[in-house]
């Protein structure tokens, strides 16, 4: 199968694959944006326990966490135009990238909503009460007190989500999007040097996810600067006791483990 192994190809593939890194990152950024918006929309009914919407949100999250992203990709790619045809909207001409970003966005939104929900509930109840005691209004207490703390709690999980999303984008080639994996496939088929192409691909993914992780770690440090220096230890301890939250962190960390990442 293929031509004999030649490691020089690994290096010559780097620039070729990097030329498609933009599309991979575009998918990541686009779906993150969609995901954050949807995550908020889904998390709010669950946080405020709005009757019907709460149930709908739960079903939404359960569906997107309960089915593989690959199936979701195909489902939306083939299903959405048909459903929209029923209401006489024709999107069969829309570029594939739109479907891909939308699907990843909806998928990420489900995980994001859980992250948001858990981080907001993880903020100590006394904080809100103290804010009220100081005379703040509901939204003031939220934006000034709850949000900054919730953000700091959410960052590690968020960082895992972003990296999982980056790895998930490798599936977009199944719909024919020319992102990095698709490019590697083509390069391999063209020259029959499959292994070299995939090694080079893996190395690029590794570097990108490593960079993203480091960047988000910096963000976390910055958001946590109001805590005491030994806070990470304390925080971890508290999370261990809050079972709901620990489960959630777990859920997102390794639930997005497999392919799935």
């Amino acid at each position: 199968m293929g031509a004999p192994f030649d490691y020089t190809y690994i290096f010559s593939y780097f620039p070729k694959l990097l030329s498609t890194l933009g599309i991979t990152l575009l998918i990541v950024a686009g779906s993150l944006l969609v995901g954050i918006i949807i995550g908020f929309l889904i998390a709010l009914p669950r946080l405020y326990r709005i009757p019907v919407l709460n149930t709908l949100a739960r079903v939404y999250v359960s569906f997107f966490r309960g089915t593989p992203i690959l199936i979701q990709l195909f489902l939306f790619y083939y299903g959405l135009p048909e459903i929209l045809k029923l209401v006489h909207i024709d999107i069969s001409k829309a570029p594939v990238l739109v479907f891909v970003i939308l699907t990843y966005g909806l998928h990420t939104g489900a995980f994001m909503s859980e992250t948001i929900r858990a981080s907001v509930t993880a903020v100590d109840r006394g904080q809100v009460e103290a804010a009220y005691a100081m005379g703040m209004k509901g939204h003031q207490a939220f934006t000034r007190i709850v949000l900054p703390q919730a953000l700091a709690i959410a960052v590690p999980v968020f960082s895992n989500l972003v990296i999982a999303l980056l790895k998930d984008t490798s599936l977009a080639f199944t719909l024919g999007v020319m992102e990095m994996t698709g490019k590697a496939e083509t390069l391999g088929a063209l020259t029959q040097h499959f292994v070299e192409a995939y090694i080079s691909l893996a190395l690029i993914y590794l570097v990108v996810s490593f960079t993203l992780e480091k960047l988000l770690l910096m963000a976390e440090r910055r958001l946590l600067r109001h805590e005491q220096p030994d806070s990470t230890g304390n925080r971890r301890f508290r999370l261990q006791r809050k079972r709901g939250y620990r489960r959630l962190v777990a859920g997102i960390e390794s639930g997005k483990g497999g392919a799935e990442a």
Partner: protein
């Protein structure tokens, strides 16, 4: 192309035949992954000189790259390696004798191993150090203490994460279609393209996966209740 609701049911019935393949892939990769993960986690916790660093590198590499690349690397790389070796040593072994599903098994086990390693490691570290010390003080050896005291508690702690890994591998098994293993996703593709009803077929596949996932979550909840019995009514 019109949506045909009755075909969803037809597709569902046809997809049932592919469920065992998906479950076998999941089961094999999770089991092998657990063993690999346990070894890797222990190597990292005990900071075994060279092997510990290799274990860390393995976990970093696997967790930093998509599962698809592992599968493709194994699928294209392993036969090359094996054929080169067998030509070198004259084993008379041909890589083409490896069934397709074998590549899925190997690659997914490697993937699962790295994720499991992190799950197991965090579970082991979550067990109070005093437990191990208490075990030593009543005269247990390290393997005894690990097996009797640490592992059961670590298992209870890491059960939610383990269940998530299992679900992750279940969902990951859909990638096996790239090496032409007919599991649920590939079957859905076949059913879809022979009947030209893509949406219905994938909807059926999604329903099956959803059901399987909920089932795993349910089972985990039952096991978790059972395994956490010892922990009832503490103060911490």
């Amino acid at each position: 192309m019109k949506i045909d609701p009755s075909f969803i049911w037809t597709a569902l019935v046809q997809l049932l035949s592919a469920i065992p393949t998906t479950l076998v892939i999941t089961a094999v990769s999770v089991t092998a992954g657990f063993v690999i993960g346990l070894i890797t986690a222990l190597l990292r916790i005990y900071k075994v000189p060279v092997l510990g660093q290799i274990a860390t590198g393995y976990v970093t590499f696997i967790r930093g790259t998509p599962m698809l690349t592992h599968l493709l690397l194994i699928y294209f790389g392993l036969p090359m390696l094996l054929d080169a070796l067998s030509a070198q040593f004259g084993w008379g072994f041909k890589s083409s004798s490896i069934p397709m599903i074998g590549f899925a098994f190997i690659s997914f086990s490697i993937t699962a191993g790295a994720y499991m390693a992190e799950v197991i490691r965090s579970g082991l570290l979550a067990v109070n150090r005093g437990q191990l010390e208490a075990a030593y003080s009543v005269g247990m050896t390290t393997p005894q203490a690990l097996r009797r005291i640490v592992f059961p508690q670590a298992l209870a702690v890491s059960l939610p994460n383990l269940s998530n890994s299992v679900i992750g591998m279940l969902h990951g098994s859909t990638l096996a279609f790239t090496v032409s293993v007919v599991e649920i996703n590939a079957k859905a593709q076949i059913v879809a393209s022979t009947n030209w009803k893509f949406f219905e077929a994938y909807l059926a596949a999604a329903v099956i996966f959803w059901g399987l996932t909920l089932l795993i979550e349910r089972i985990t909840a039952v096991i978790e209740k059972r395994i956490n019995l010892y922990n009832r009514g503490g103060v911490a």
